[in-house]
Symmetry: C2
Subunit: 315 residues, 2 copies
Amino acid sequence: MTDIDELRSIRAAELYYEEDKTQDEIGTILRLTRWKVGRLLAQAKANGFIRIEIVHPRARRLGIERQLREATGLTDAIVVSTAGVVDELDLHKRTAQAAADYLTALRPVPRTLGISWGRTLYDISVQLKPGWASGVNVVQINGGVSLNARPGTAAATAVSIAQKGAGQFTLLPSPAILERMETKQAIASDRSVAAVLEMGSAASAYLFSAGQADEDSAHVDSGYLTPEQVAELVRKGAVGDVVGRFIDSAGQIVDPALDERTFGIQLEQLRRAKTAIAVIGGPRKHAIARSVVLSGLCTVLITDEDTALALLREP
Amino acid sequence: MTDIDELRSIRAAELYYEEDKTQDEIGTILRLTRWKVGRLLAQAKANGFIRIEIVHPRARRLGIERQLREATGLTDAIVVSTAGVVDELDLHKRTAQAAADYLTALRPVPRTLGISWGRTLYDISVQLKPGWASGVNVVQINGGVSLNARPGTAAATAVSIAQKGAGQFTLLPSPAILERMETKQAIASDRSVAAVLEMGSAASAYLFSAGQADEDSAHVDSGYLTPEQVAELVRKGAVGDVVGRFIDSAGQIVDPALDERTFGIQLEQLRRAKTAIAVIGGPRKHAIARSVVLSGLCTVLITDEDTALALLREP
DNA sequence: GTAGCCGCTGCTCATATGAGCAAGATCTGC
DNA sequence: GCAGATCTTGCTCATATGAGCAGCGGCTAC
């Protein structure tokens, strides 16, 4: 496009988008035919001079969603817009809202829903509307008896999701990580506990988040790991954890011994699942989000625009 | 609008603006009639959920220009968009470009153009294209023999504008501020100098900028005033200077004694002018821009979006 | 209960817009 | 300088969209 036409296309765009003039009127003003004006506007769009943003907490980025699906083979991708986000709390709320919306619209409605726990899952449970389902069995898929912070949020999350969905809940009565492998085996061999794990393994859908591997990890807050232990995991390549299990950028368990002491379903269960919804958002979770998606841990990713774009930058 | 319609309007907007679907197609997807979709889109617009920005260095904000004209009675207002501005240099370049464009398109073409000097005027002289006018007499309207920094830019500005406009230039051979009033009167009484001032007073159009009153003032850089003297002017109410003369927020001379020693045309000449184009942009110049506009020093203001909005906030 | 009112819906019709095409303008290589 | 190629222009025609209006449904005030 010539320089003069570029300038004209900007003048035309101003009149069209800002002043709500018709292309014909613009033609009169700029002394051009209305067809020329139409072409200038098309060029302005094609050159990316026209930026249209939907500014709303529930706005999504459908184009990025499509790109994500195509680049990764995900069944579905939900990408919430970051336009107008004020802080990270706002971003988390938007992502949780999107997850709640997705879950509500999910067909077929899952009979049994396996869930992890954490801030993200808790947020989702808050955003869900009563009546989002009619009779859904919610089952925890990883240990979640919190040691330090906010005792009971793991349980509260499951309870809330189940109650709002007019269904039952089944808790996994175990810590996330046991100190000794013998203890873990003892718990696992308990019939009632084994039954819960079995139910979790047979869930018709999974909803889980993931944590980044750093000193702010939920495992540190909950007292399962020390910051030093996390640092050691990072040294071994950990980018974050999924249902309590720390993985590297290829989705491999980084510390098999630790993993043996971690209580919950196996990652392979998620990889085999027909519906595994990962909700992972926020600037610190770009690496773990990539690992989860690329190693096939989820069939559906719900995330924010920035994380999605980071993922697309190198697929 | 109900909550459910608000959400629908966002979904519709995504499909319309991001996915380029027709309202009819969106109707099929969302199970609505195409008329309902049209109404939802109209509501999304009305609620301000749709933000359209023209991202281009030469983009203007016509809506703000109109508001400025209506609020202030200016003959003309040019407001450059700040969308996509990377730094203040970029902003200055955009403003200067807009001024050059305005000058080039100005009708009737001024026979004699009175100009001030400074970074802004220099930038404009650079942006002007050779042949912007055919035979324009450029005359300096305030003293500008720089003492310290970049000697000769004042002269270079006038020369460049005149040469690119295929015309003549007339310099005002005097410092901006004289140390003693006697010196000023002596210079003023010189026939050739008086002739220049007279030509300046009779110019058919004026193009000038304004400086903010702070330690970064061009008067400090040029060595005419010390930072302490400027601080004293600020204490007296100065918000900036126009053609070298410091004024308060009401457009009044703040220090008559200093003003007596300042060389150039009187502010009243600008206020009486039929075409007085002020080019004032940048975050530090909000106060002086307001004073210039409200005290009638210009008939045309060329500025940036942020400055214009600050001006509109309290008219 | 019901008459009157208000707002939403689905329509008709006029207008605005984009696709496609033929003719003219401009460029390129020899 | 000119033949062919390519790009641009102004058009026709099909489609998308917005304005305006009649009818329906739900709500309020007696």
